[in-house]
């Protein structure tokens, strides 16, 4: 990544214009041509810097409910439990972390009752009762873009 790539990557994390020719506007900000912006984004995707480029929605405003859960999974069952959790499309993030609550996952679904049902189902299917449900009470920050530098 050169300096322009880094600047471009920071800009496109913040958002592209909802406009007929969104990349033309970005090109002007970067003092390069529209086709160069397009080529560079393709390259950043190909090189594995960009996971997805598309709409980012506010789940809450769409009426969905979400939470963060953690569970205590015995060492010898980690892969098996991770596989089960990953099979739910309502579970969008799942990480192993250094804590007695070692598996951390987010659940997002269309209603609170469905959220509880899903957590109960996971407890039932795994036989692991120690699952904590930590819904957010207040959002202080969700950062839009990580500054990758270049300016």
């Amino acid at each position: 990544m050169d300096r322009i790539d880094k600047k471009l990557l920071t800009l496109i994390q913040e958002g592209i214009p909802i406009d007929k020719k969104p990349f033309e506007k970005l090109a002007k900000e970067l003092f390069i041509t529209e086709s160069e912006v397009i080529d560079r984004i393709h390259k950043l995707k190909k090189d594995g810097y960009i996971r997805r480029m598309g709409g980012i929605f506010n789940s809450h405003k769409l009426g969905f409910k979400s939470t963060l859960c953690a569970m205590k999974v015995p060492q010898n069952r980690i892969d098996e439990v991770a596989k089960l959790l990953n099979s739910y499309e309502e579970i969008t993030h799942n990480y192993l972390r250094e804590d007695s609550y070692n598996m951390w996952f987010t659940v997002i679904t269309y209603s609170e009752s469905n959220l509880f049902k899903l957590i109960d189902e996971i407890k039932f299917k795994t036989g692991i009762k120690d699952v904590i449900d930590l819904p957010s009470l207040k959002l202080f920050k969700v950062k839009v873009a990580l500054n990758v530098g270049g300016d």
């Binding site: 990557l9 997805r52 480029m53 980012i56 929605f57 963060l68 799942n94 250094e98 009470l137």
Partner: protein, 155 residues
């Protein structure tokens, strides 16, 4: 209220948008509608707040943020607001939430901190701890990523 066309549009936007000169024109053609109508509708989702933005989601690790620490803090109720606002103001903190506690979990403030390495993360965390006067915290590094995906709201 969202109609069936809105749901089709949102479905499209949940995927990757085409990286071409006129991406919305191409999407509109795929949806069988006019580009102007598509742009008007997307702008309305943005104005009402259901669409935060059309943007790139990056792979943090690839972009040089090798250490990503989730730090959980036990903050007295009366200090949550101040601590949360302070942590939220820091550029190294990407997420900061107050979460519900329970019998087995008393850490109520959650932050995600990004750094080039663990040492950098830990310096940032120590500075925060000193600043807000909270010593009771845990750093939960992720050791494996099993899943990271975007929610598909409509199918």
């Amino acid at each position: 209220m969202l109609d069936s066309l809105d749901k089709c549009i949102i479905k499209k936007l949940q995927e990757d948008i085409p990286i071409v000169e006129e991406p919305y024109g191409l999407l509109a053609a795929e949806l069988g509608i006019e580009e102007d109508e598509l742009i008007t509708r997307i702008k309305s989702y943005h104005e009402s707040g259901i669409l935060k933005r059309i943007a790139a989601v990056i792979y943090h690790r690839q972009a040089g943020f090798k250490a990503n620490a989730m730090v959980v803090w036990k903050v007295p109720e009366a200090s949550v607001e101040e601590a949360g606002n302070y942590m939220g103001s820091l550029s190294e903190v990407s997420h900061c939430y107050e979460r519900k506690i329970c019998e087995n979990w008393e850490y109520n403030l959650f932050t995600m901190i990004h750094g080039k390495d663990k040492e950098q993360c830990e310096n940032i965390i120590e500075n925060i701890s000193n600043k807000i006067g909270i010593k009771d915290y845990k750093i939960l590094y992720s050791t494996r990523e099993f899943k990271k995906s975007s929610m598909k709201y409509f199918k």
